[in-house]
Symmetry: C2
Subunit: 296 residues, 2 copies
């Protein structure tokens, strides 16, 4: 058996069509959603991510406010900029591309963004709302992207055993929280395994759905996968590749070729979870705009 590919490009395009419809609806009321993207420094990978976000805003006719601060920018400068964006009625979402340079206290920065514009769902109040099952905040882009990917692929999670590999604040923990919720598109039995787990392969082998978010290239091998399981690969790792002009290639946390022989459905890297993350970011920005105009 070879697994069916879960096409994140196609499904994110569907989400973005819905996003475009919502933008059009807002424009018909003379409202334009706006997203402020702040990059501190010149990290090349961060530049790539920021460009992708700005480009998607343009495609969807969301106004993007792209701010680049010098790599030596101080906390005060950054906080002053955020303060201004917090008050700007044309800005509905604010994000600071991670990771910032070392002089920047990322937690302080996140907490300085008003929760109503925290479209990344990094602020404690939005994280808390998510765990409590409340829908008046935002859901974090990558794990919620996985939820949508599953739903739009017709993959039931209710009553299924989901094993989340990794416990980061960005993916593993919120993924666990979203899957647990009392909600027809969640309702999963969830196990979260991580670096301290003793019998990891044995536990992952029980999963109907595996979400790999451990940040280790090709960590999940075929022997860890139950025949017919669904495998979602959140990892994006650069590994050296002499045959590539860039000198590296991108691989996920899953050993794709062998796992694809055993899984029933699998996400590729790239083209799986990645595009969903940006689609949810856009969705959150539109949601924020609607909430700020009392349209939700």
């Amino acid at each position: 058996m070879t697994a069916q590919i879960i096409d994140g490009k196609m499904i994110s395009a569907e989400v973005n069509r819905e996003n475009a419809e919502n933008v059009a609806l807002l424009k018909s009321k003379n409202i334009t959603p706006g997203l402020a993207v702040i990059l501190v420094g010149d990290n090349p990978a961060s530049q790539v991510y920021v460009r992708a976000k700005v480009k998607k805003c343009e495609e969807l006719e969301i106004t993007s406010f792209h701010h680049v601060l010098d790599k030596d920018a101080t906390m005060d400068e950054l906080l002053a900029l955020i303060e201004r964006l917090n008050k700007d009625e044309n800005v509905h979402g604010i994000l600071v591309q991670s990771p910032p340079p070392p002089q920047i206290d990322e937690q302080k920065v996140i907490e300085s963004i008003v929760p109503e514009k925290d479209v990344d769902c990094f602020h404690a109040v939005n994280v808390g709302k998510m765990l409590l099952g409340r829908t008046d905040g935002f859901f974090p882009c990558t794990p919620y992207g996985v939820m949508i990917l599953l739903e739009k692929s017709g993959i039931e999670t209710a009553g299924k055993h989901v094993v989340v590999i990794g416990r980061s604040n960005i993916v593993g923990k919120p993924m666990t929280a979203l899957m647990l919720q009392k909600n027809p598109h969640a309702n999963a039995t969830v196990t979260c395994v991580h670096s301290m787990t003793k019998n990891l392969p044995e536990l992952v082998r029980q999963a109907d759905i595996v979400v790999a978010a451990i940040g280790k290239p090709e960590f999940v091998t075929a022997d860890m996968i139950k025949e017919g399981a669904v495998v979602i690969d959140v990892g994006i790792n650069r590994v050296p590749d002499a045959s590539s002009p860039k000198g590296y290639k991108l691989v996920g946390d899953v050993k794709y070729d062998e796992v694809a022989q055993k899984a029933s459905k699998i996400t590729p890297v790239p083209g799986g979870v990645g595009p969903m993350t940006i689609a949810v970011l856009m969705q959150n920005t539109i949601k924020s705009c609607m909430m700020q105009h009392n349209l939700l």
Copy 2:
């Protein structure tokens, strides 16, 4: 084998000795921690809980501000009281005994308490901090009571498989979150099972540590328990008992007599998790007082 009893009365007394030391330390600086307990209506079970909290405050020389509102009290009255307590410098913790009467919107009430005095850890911002692994908020009383119970009983959680039964906002979800954290007294592999779980007994049987918080009397039976597992019973259920003068008895979510033959350690009901909950409430009130005086 008969399980060793995890004595919540004894361990909570130990926590309360630490609490008393911290109160003495504060008093030496002319500071007295204060806890406001609000009861709306005359629910008999709520009255019992409130009395127990007020009594523990007295024992520890924490000032208790006990407010009883009529069962027909309006939201406005309650919010006005909370507003006053939010500003009162002698009040470091505020809680509204659950469940309130139907005219009271509990979520709105919780969100009206300033997070700095939310010693129950019900406010979204404190729930979020907990999931993110931050220690500058509060931990919720019952699940954190379980963490302390395990730690003080010398039961390691790191690398152990903990199965949490139940996914309530009060116990199941925060219990899962606390157990997952990167922290020598957590670091567990966690599975959360609940009403939608298909193969619940099979999953619970894998647990090194079971935390039962499903709210069903004697739900967990011996056949669900691995020989030698640790069993923590969070449930408190009233079941009819003709032989008791009250006409009922309290039982947990665990069928104690048979499970105690298979577990290595087990908490009784009552006298297990219950007393820990109040001890953590006191601990949180003292922590809040210390934070408000910049002593932490």
